[in-house]
C-alpha cells in the first residue's frame, strides 16, 4: 500500500488557499441529495455536524451519551490557541505553526500544522459570534493568557471551562440544525462497525443502548470523531465512556492506524487513592508556575510533610534542571515523578505521589495572592482529597491525558478507506509525538468547522457513488457479525468482572508502555496481553442480556477492543527505535536523560495495516519531509 498524503505543492503559506481554489464543489441544490453520518459530538464531531447541516447536507449525528452536550471535550479546562496577536507580543501564524511542530518533536506533517495555525483565528471569530463567553479585558476586548511554555500569550479562555463553553457553542449550533430538520440526532448509540460497499465507507451499524437493538444506517460518507483511546490504561483523565472501538473497527476494515504508541501523560493530576479509583482528575499545569515539587530525601520517610525539615527535602526538579526547574515540559516532569516513586520516595498512602508545595510562595506573596491565582484549583483539590493545600502540600502524580496517535488521514482528513473521514483526537494528524497545551480544542474545531466542510465536498463531487441504502447485503452482513459478537459477550458468565480485567490491562500498559519504555518491558507487555485477553473471553462476567440497557455489556465490548488494541500500541512502541516527545525509550537518551530522536532513521509516521486475526499487523511508513523548519534537539537544563 502506498500512503499518499495528498499534500498540495507550492509554498507552505499558499498550500491551503491554492488547494481550496482547485477543490471540486457540490452545488447548493445537490447538497441535500447527500447523506453524511457523523460519529461523536465533541468539538470535532459537533462542529462538523452543525457546519455540514448549515451547508445543506443531510446529517445523521450519533453519540454515546444521552445528549450531544456531554461529549468529553466538555472537560477541557485551559484554553484554545490562536495567532491573533491581540497582546501585540509578536505572535503570528508562523510562530504558532513552529511552536506546534517543535512541541510535537518534529513528528507531524508541516502542511497540516500550518493549515491549523492559519485557521486558528477564524475559530475565535466564529465562537465569539456564537456567544461563547471568552474572558475579556476591562475595555471589553478579548483577553489572552500564556500557556504551556509558549513565549507569547495566545490562549483564549472561558475561566477554567473553555472546553465546556466551546462545546456548548457546537451543541447549540447543532440543536439549531436539528430544529431546522437538517440533523437527525441519535444519542445513546454505540458504534459497532463501519459498513463498506464497493470499497467505500457507506454507513454504520450501531447498538441502541436503551433497547439493545442493532441498527443499520446508510449514507454517502462517514465522518468519525470519536475521540482518543487513553482509557486503554484504565485510569486516565478521559471520560469513563471514552473508548477506541469505532476507530479500531475501522482499522479492522482497512483504515491504517497511525502512531498508536504516542500517548501524552500529564504531570499534575490528583493521585490514585485506592483500587476502586475510577478516573483521574487533572489539575491545571499553571500550578507549577509557583508550586515547588519535592519528595523526602530518604526513601520510606512516613512523617507528615510539615514535619520534614528543609534539609531532608529533595527538590529534585530544581536540582536536576536548574534553568527550568519546576517548569520543565510535561513529559520530563512526569518521568521524573515516576522515577522518584520507583526509588521508594513517593508520598501519600499509596507511595505513588510527589508533593507540590505552596509554602514558600505563600510566605513570599501572601495567601491572598496565591488564592487569587489558584483558588478554584485549591478548592477542587480539597473537595477531592480532603486536605487544605494552603496548609499541607498538595500531592500530585502523572496520568494518561491525551493521545496523539489515531487513524491515519491524508490532507483531506480522509482515512485509507475512501469516504471515511476522521477528525479531532481520533486522527493522528497535527500534534506529532507530543501535544502542546490549548491545542486540542483548536484542532478539533479547525477540523470540524473549517476543513471537513470543504474537503468532503471535494470527495462527494469527485467520486461516483451508487445509490445504496441499509437494505444492501453489506449492511446485514455487518449487522449479523455485530450481533454475534454481542451475543458472545453477553454469554460471558465467568468469575471476574470486566472492570477488574480492564484494570489489569491498564496496569500492564502503565508499567511497560507508559512514561519510560524499554525494549525488555515492551516485550514483557507483548507477552502479558494475549493471556489476559484469553482470560477475558473465558472468565469475564456480563450479567443481564443483550436486549435492553446493559452497561456492563457496553463496557465489555469496549474492553474487548482495548485488549486487542493494546498489542498494537506495544508493537508500535517496539518498532520506533528512538525517543521522541512522549515516546521515551530508555535506550535512546542524551547524557542528561532527554529524549534522543533518530532523525536519520525514524523521521516517519508509522501507519499500521490490519492483516487479519492472529497475524502481525503490517507497518507502513509515511516519511516526514521538513522543508521549512530546521530540526533541533530540545534542552531544558
Amino acid at each position: 500500500m502506498k500512503l499518499d498524503s495528498k499534500v498540495p505543492g507550492g509554498p507552505l503559506e499558499q498550500k491551503w488557499d491554492k488547494y481550496l481554489d482547485d477543490l471540486k464543489l457540490v452545488s447548493p441544490a445537490n447538497k441535500r441529495k447527500f447523506g453524511i453520518i457523523v460519529l461523536g459530538t465533541g468539538l470535532a464531531g459537533g462542529s462538523a455536524s452543525a457546519t455540514l447541516a448549515e451547508l445543506g447536507y443531510n446529517v445523521k449525528s450519533f453519540c454515546l451519551q444521552d445528549t450531544p452536550r456531554r461529549a468529553h471535550s466538555i472537560a477541557a479546562q485551559g484554553g484554545i490557541n490562536a495567532a491573533k496577536n491581540y497582546p501585540g507580543d509578536g505572535d503570528n501564524i508562523w510562530r504558532l505553526f513552529y511552536d506546534t511542530i517543535k512541541g510535537g518533536d518534529f513528528r507531524a506533517r508541516e502542511a497540516n500544522v500550518y493549515r491549523l495555525a492559519q485557521i486558528s483565528n477564524r475559530i475565535i471569530d466564529h465562537c465569539t459570534a456564537q456567544g461563547v463567553p471568552f474572558a475579556r479585558e476591562y475595555g471589553g476586548l478579548l483577553a489572552n493568557r500564556s500557556f504551556g511554555g509558549a513565549q507569547v500569550s495566545r490562549t483564549f479562555y472561558a475561566r477554567g471551562q473553555t472546553g465546556q463553553q466551546l462545546l456548548l457553542g457546537c451543541y447549540s449550533a447543532m440543536m439549531r440544525q436539528v430544529s431546522a430538520g437538517h440533523i437527525e440526532m441519535l444519542p445513546r448509540r454505540e458504534i459497532l462497525d463501519v459498513v463498506i460497499v464497493d470499497g467505500c465507507a457507506r454507513g454504520v451499524v450501531v447498538r441502541n443502548l436503551i433497547t439493545g437493538e442493532i441498527e443499520k444506517h446508510a449514507a454517502h460518507a462517514v465522518v468519525m470523531a470519536t475521540g482518543g483511546y487513553g482509557n486503554a490504561y484504565y485510569l486516565s483523565t478521559n471520560g469513563m465512556n471514552s473508548n477506541v472501538s469505532a476507530a479500531f473497527k475501522a482499522y479492522k476494515k482497512g483504515a491504517l492506524f497511525a502512531n498508536p504508541c504516542f500517548v501524552q501523560i500529564h504531570p499534575t493530576c490528583i493521585p490514585v487513592h485506592g483500587t476502586y479509583q475510577s478516573k483521574l482528575t487533572l489539575m491545571s499545569e499553571s500550578l507549577r508556575n509557583d508550586g515547588r515539587v519535592w519528595v523526602p530525601k530518604n526513601s520510606g520517610d512516613k512523617r507528615s510533610p510539615n514535619e520534614i525539615p528543609e534539609s531532608e527535602r529533595d527538590y529534585y526538579l530544581e536540582t536536576k534542571y536548574p534553568a527550568y526547574g519546576n517548569l520543565v515540559p510535561r513529559d520530563v516532569a512526569s518521568r521524573n515523578a515516576k522515577e522518584q516513586c520507583d526509588m521508594g520516595k513517593g508520598v501519600g498512602p499509596t507511595g505513588l505521589a510527589v508533593y507540590l508545595d505552596f509554602r514558600d510562595p505563600i510566605q513570599r506573596d501572601g495567601k491572598d495572592v496565591i488564592e487569587r491565582k489558584y483558588g478554584n484549583l485549591f478548592d477542587m483539590y480539597e473537595r477531592i482529597v480532603g486536605e487544605n493545600p494552603y496548609e499541607t502540600p498538595m500531592m500530585i502524580y502523572p496520568a494518561v491525558h491525551y493521545v496523539m496517535g489515531g487513524l491515519w488521514v491524508d490532507y483531506n482528513l480522509m482515512s485509507t478507506i475512501p469516504g471515511l473521514f476522521v477528525l479531532g483526537e481520533a486522527n493522528f494528524s497535527d500534534h506529532g509525538a507530543n501535544r502542546l497545551g490549548a491545542s486540542a480544542l483548536m484542532q478539533g474545531l479547525a477540523d470540524g468547522y473549517f476543513v471537513i466542510p470543504y474537503t468532503i465536498g471535494g470527495y462527494l463531487a469527485g467520486t461516483f457513488l451508487s445509490e445504496v441504502n441499509a437494505t444492501h447485503p453489506a449492511f446485514e452482513d455487518t449487522a449479523q457479525q455485530a450481533r454475534e459478537k454481542i451475543q458472545k459477550l453477553s454469554a460471558l458468565k465467568g468469575h471476574r468482572t470486566v472492570d477488574d480485567i480492564h484494570r489489569e490491562l491498564g496496569h500492564i500498559l502503565w508499567e511497560h508502555c507508559g512514561m519510560a519504555r524499554s525494549e525488555e518491558g515492551l516485550l514483557k507487555a507483548k507477552e502479558l496481553i494475549p493471556p489476559l485477553r484469553e482470560e477475558f473471553w473465558e472468565n469475564a462476567i456480563v450479567p443481564g442480556g443483550p436486549d435492553d440497557l446493559n452497561q456492563t455489556l457496553e463496557r465489555a465490548g469496549r474492553v474487548a477492543d482495548f485488549l486487542e488494541f493494546a498489542e498494537l500500541m506495544v508493537e508500535d512502541a517496539i518498532s520506533r527505535k528512538e525517543s521522541c516527545g512522549c515516546h521515551f525509550n530508555v535506550g535512546y537518551q542524551t547524557e542528561e536523560h532527554e529524549a534522543l530522536r533518530q532523525d536519520d532513521t525514524s523521521c516517519y509516521v508509522s501507519a499500521w495495516e490490519y492483516a487479519g486475526k492472529g497475524k502481525s499487523p503490517v507497518l507502513h511508513k509515511e516519511p516526514l519531509a521538513f522543508e521549512n523548519v530546521h530540526l533541533t534537539q530540545r534542552s531544558y537544563k
Binding site: S47, A50, T51, E54, Q65, D66, T67, P68, R69, R70, I74, A75, R122, I124, D125, H126, T128, A129, Q130, G131, P133, F134, R136, E137, G139, G140, L141, L142, R159, Q161, Q164, Q165, S172, A173, M175, R176, V178, M185, P187, G239, M240, H273, G274, Y276, S278, K279, T281, I384, G386, E387, Y449, K493, T497, I541, P543, G544, D548, L549, Q551, T552
Partner: protein, 254 residues
C-alpha cells in the same frame, strides 16, 4: 483523612420506564471515605456482578463535575446534601459510619425513568432547539474584537453559561419547573450583544416549549438555586421573566 465506614443503602430499582419500581436495601462494609459517591456505587455494582445479579444502572462520564451526566436524589437532595457539588464530586467523607442513605432518580414528569437511577432528559435538548442559540452559520462571523463586551456582562453571561444541564433544578423543584435551566440559557445569550437580536423570539419560544413539555410553573421556592451543583443564581429567572414580559408586550414577535 482516610477511614472506612459501613453503610446501608436504600436504592431505587426499576427495570424500565413501564414497570413499577421499588427501593432495594444493600449493606456495604468498609467503604473508604476517600471514595466518591459514584465509586461507592461502583463497589456495590462489582459485588452485585460477582453474585451474578444485575448492577444498578446510572449515568456517568467525566466524574469531575462538568459533563452533567450523573445525578440522583440522595437523602432528599438532588446530588446529595453538599452545596455546589455534583454526585461524582461528592465524597464519602461527608457521611458517617452506620448511615442509611436513600438514593432515588431525579423525578419529574418530563424526565422518564430509563432504568434504575437513569433518566431521559432529552426534553432539555428540545427546549434548546426552540431557540437556545445564536443564528450564525460557520464562516459568517466578523472579526472577534469588532464587538467589545463589558467585562461585567461577559462575566455574568459566563456565570449563567456554566449550567451543566444535569436536571437537578427540575428534580429539586416541587413543581418540576425548568425555569432555572431556561433562565440560565436566556440570560447567557441576552447578556451578550450577539444574542440580543433574537432575544424576544427566544424567550417566547423557549418558555412555551418548556410549558408544552410538561414542566411546571415557577412559584419562587428557590430550591433550584440551593440544589444546583453549579450554584446558578435565581436572578437568571428574574431576567427570563423580564425578557418574556418585554417580548410579550413590546415586540412584534408572537
Amino acid at each position: 483523612m482516610s477511614g472506612a465506614i459501613n453503610l446501608t443503602l436504600k436504592i431505587w430499582r426499576q427495570k424500565n420506564a413501564k414497570e413499577k419500581g421499588h427501593l432495594e436495601v444493600h449493606n456495604l462494609e468498609n467503604i473508604s471515605t476517600d471514595m466518591s459517591f459514584l465509586e461507592m456505587l461502583d463497589v456495590l455494582n462489582e459485588g452485585l456482578t460477582l453474585e451474578g445479579k444485575e448492577p444498578i444502572a446510572f449515568d456517568y462520564d467525566c466524574r469531575e463535575g462538568i459533563c452533567g451526566a450523573c445525578g440522583a436524589v440522595v437523602n432528599g437532595y438532588a446530588h446529595g446534601p453538599r452545596k455546589g457539588t455534583t454526585l461524582c464530586q461528592l465524597h464519602m467523607r461527608h457521611f458517617h459510619d452506620g448511615d442509611t442513605i436513600v438514593i432515588e432518580p431525579f423525578r419529574a414528569r418530563p424526565f422518564e425513568i430509563v432504568k434504575d437511577l437513569m433518566i431521559d432528559r432529552s426534553a432539555f435538548d428540545v427546549i434548546i432547539q426552540a431557540g437556545g442559540y445564536v443564528s450564525v452559520n460557520t464562516g459568517q462571523a466578523p472579526e472577534a474584537n469588532s464587538l467589545p463586551i463589558s467585562e461585567e456582562n461577559s462575566e455574568l453571561a459566563m456565570d449563567a453559561a456554566a449550567c451543566i444541564g444535569c436536571g437537578a433544578c427540575v428534580a429539586a423543584c416541587p413543581n418540576a419547573s425548568a425555569m432555572l435551566f431556561v433562565g440560565a440559557k436566556i440570560s447567557h445569550l441576552t447578556l451578550l450583544p450577539q444574542g440580543k437580536v433574537e432575544a424576544g423570539k427566544r424567550a417566547l419560544s423557549m418558555l412555551r416549549k418548556m410549558d408544552d413539555l410538561g414542566f411546571g410553573k415557577c412559584a419562587n421556592h428557590t430550591e433550584c438555586e440551593v440544589q444546583c451543583p453549579k450554584e446558578i443564581s435565581i436572578t437568571n429567572i428574574a431576567r427570563l421573566n423580564r425578557e418574556f414580559i418585554k417580548a410579550s408586550f413590546g415586540s412584534s414577535v408572537r
